[in-house]
Amino acid sequence: MEHFLLQLFIFLAASAIAVPLAKKLGFGSVLGYLIAGIIIGPFGLSLIGEIEEVMHFTEFGVVMMLFLVGLELKPSLLWQMRTPILGMGGAQVVLSSSIIGGVSLIFLPWQQAIAIGLTLSLSSTAIVLQTLREKGLMNTSPGKSIFSVLLFQDLAVIPMLAILPLLATVTMHEGGHHESALFDISSLPGYLQITLTLLAILSIFFLGKFASRPIFRTIAATRVREIFVAAALALVVGISLLMMAVGLSPALGTFLAGVVLADSEYRHELESDIEPFKGLLLGIFFISIGASLNFTLIGEEILLIAGLTTGLIGSKWLVLVGVSFLFKMAKKERALFGIALAQGGEFAFVLFQLSKTNGVLPSETIEPLISAVAISMFLTPLLFLAHDKFIATRHGDEEDSREADAIDHGGHKVILAGFGRLGTDLGRFLISAGIKPVILDHDAANVDVLRKFGFEVYYGDITRLDLLEAAGASEAELLIITIGDIEKSRELVELAAKHYPHLKIAANAADRSSAYELMDLGVAQIRRETFGSALSLGQDALKILGFDPYEAHRLMRIFSKNDEEMMPELYKMLHEDEDSYISMYQKHNADLEELMTLDLNVDLEELDKAWTAANPET
């Protein structure tokens, strides 16, 4: 136990030190993790052991990441992307495999060449997606192309896992690599295997589409936060187990589950619950990659490994640039597309391991290749940096407008926090104006009903930073707060002001004193929630009493304007002296009375002159 805690401490402390440092230096978190790994690894301070086990366990972070990616991809969007996924992804994998395999064929037998070609054609989903997200490039068109290729690669791993054992050149002593914890599906006849696999995929679909909603609703109703987290984790882990049992990639399974749940109102809640786990696991995964760099080997075979790394990155880059020409990408996109996917991927470690145990490749071939893959992964954040420094800025000026076009408008502009009585009408109004807000509400029953009517409503506690992030606060323009509880409103305003200073805020306040509290926080746009209805009802009353409708309307407007003008003054007084505030309030009430009478007099006397054409000159 102590040992475990110590190891955990070292990993966490290393990340806590290295990542902020790396970010400060502009390197991005991935590079920070990798460097932390080298430092605490066997060739640095030698603080950690069992790196392979850690790496194997934390690979689960990739699975979680694909679940999250799936959550952001609605099925319709995925369908729209079918051409880039199959086209670009397919072209990249086939061409890269052929070229790398072709070169390997010069030195190695064909079976080994194929295995190496396939394995090295894959890129690093973990590093690339993490970096794209950090740079906010996910929704840009090069970001989408890159993602499409990565998605195809993740799918391609499945047949690769099946093909590799068939390429064995060395007869291995018996002992299957693939042991399922539950049962071994491969002992079943073929048609049953296929049926079971299809059933597993269908069950994911069914679970996501129909079963998840009542389950999450029941859990949400308990309002015990950690149970929801537990359920979310259980979902991801459960699907991974199911996928492994039928011999499919767990990453693919959770990705599918994510896509099915992308339409769900619990999407943002799931996202923010899984996100920290994914982040941590991936972080430790990156650390273990850094730690697994075998510097002794690299030192001994420096030329070979440097050559392999250059060859790997160079050939993949060539293929990517070729693909980008084939699919007519813009000049600026080509550069990013090329460098983003030129590294080897984490699946290479898995596939090389598999090749070793199946006797496809001897370990003396694998060792330098693994080093080359790890170094190429290490170089990726540096390549991104170089791209930002030289290429992006150089193109920046000439193709500025073009880039703006490429940005997807999928990002919502308005977040509506609270969808109660006030929020409902406000939301309807905005939607009628063509503005589709992301709506967040904490009442699960409410959320259900509203979704039935086609609103985009999500369940969650908006005063949590992660949910705010998931709702797109970093790209949003406006946050509208319609929460009745002033404490919650304050919390939210403070949170938003701290983390999203660009975000404009419009808020409702239950009463005058809540309005002052919000003014304390610098909220510029505040409406007292009953004020508007009070005046409208007052206007109705005047009409019923026989006032001219137009006059009733004007009186209402005048009253409202006076009151609005009074607020800042009252607020100023409040801060000077509590007593004088009260007297000021009274004074203002008296003033208002006077103003109102004055208004009446204006209507009666001043306006009479204008509106009844009493020309004083004649």
């Binding site: 137009y550 009666l604 009479d608 009844t612 054409a613 009493a614 020309n615 000159e617 004649t618």
Partner: protein, 202 residues
């Protein structure tokens, strides 16, 4: 029998003397509809469909309003801007108002002498209302010279007001019953210049 629509526009009706009196005189007459614009649209959000339907369902359209700044109260401008749509009121397809009668019933502060070339206002009522005459023409309507009550701010004597009120009632009824001689009416400066000869005794 023609149907008459009176689009009434006065922003401070409670303090209007003449306009109220004129309006009261025609209120409740058969086939006369009074459409109070400020009362219907205190927020100026004019229901264009409703207004167009009203126009379509009547044969004579009267705009009754005080003469503000040589023009109409602001809501009437809004009304013209929104209701007289291309393809409905004008344009090659716009025939909804064709042949309908157009009349303004105006109350103004200055008396007749001020609305002369050498008078205080320098322009005649006919000149100042020419935009509405042009509007009527563009909409293929038959324009009539305005019904005017002048010199209001001087404080009209009671019997004069009474005469105007009666004249207005006779005009509206005459338009309704077809007893008002349109051709002769068009010769005068104001519709109510010489009502006795314009309207046949019925």
């Amino acid at each position: 029998m023609s149907k008459i629509l009176i689009n009434f526009a006065h922003p401070a009706r409670a303090r209007s003397k003449i306009n109220n009196a004129l309006r009261t005189a025609v209120e409740g007459l058969e086939d006369v509809t009074i459409n109070d614009l400020y009362a219907h649209y205190p927020d100026f959000l004019i229901d264009v469909k409703r207004e167009q339907r009203l126009c379509e369902n009547h044969d004579v359209i009267i705009f009754q309003h005080p003469f503000y700044w040589y023009s109409t109260p602001s809501i009437m401008k809004e009304w013209l801007d929104l209701v007289l749509q291309h393809g409905w009121a004008y344009g090659s397809q716009g025939r909804a108002l064709q042949g309908k009668l157009f009349l303004q019933a105006i109350t103004a502060g200055g008396d007749d002498s001020t609305y002369q070339k050498d008078g205080y206002n320098e322009f005649t009522i006919g000149e100042l209302t020419s935009p509405y005459r042009a509007t009527a023409k563009l909409c293929n309507m038959e324009w009539l010279p305005p019904f005017v009550v002048l010199g209001v701010h001087l404080g009209l004597p009671e019997e004069k007001v009474k005469a105007h009120v009666e004249g207005y009632r006779r005009t509206v009824k005459g338009l309704r019953d077809g007893t008002l001689d349109i051709e002769q009416a068009r010769q005068g400066r104001y519709l109510n210049s010489n009502l006795n000869s314009t309207i046949r005794r019925s």
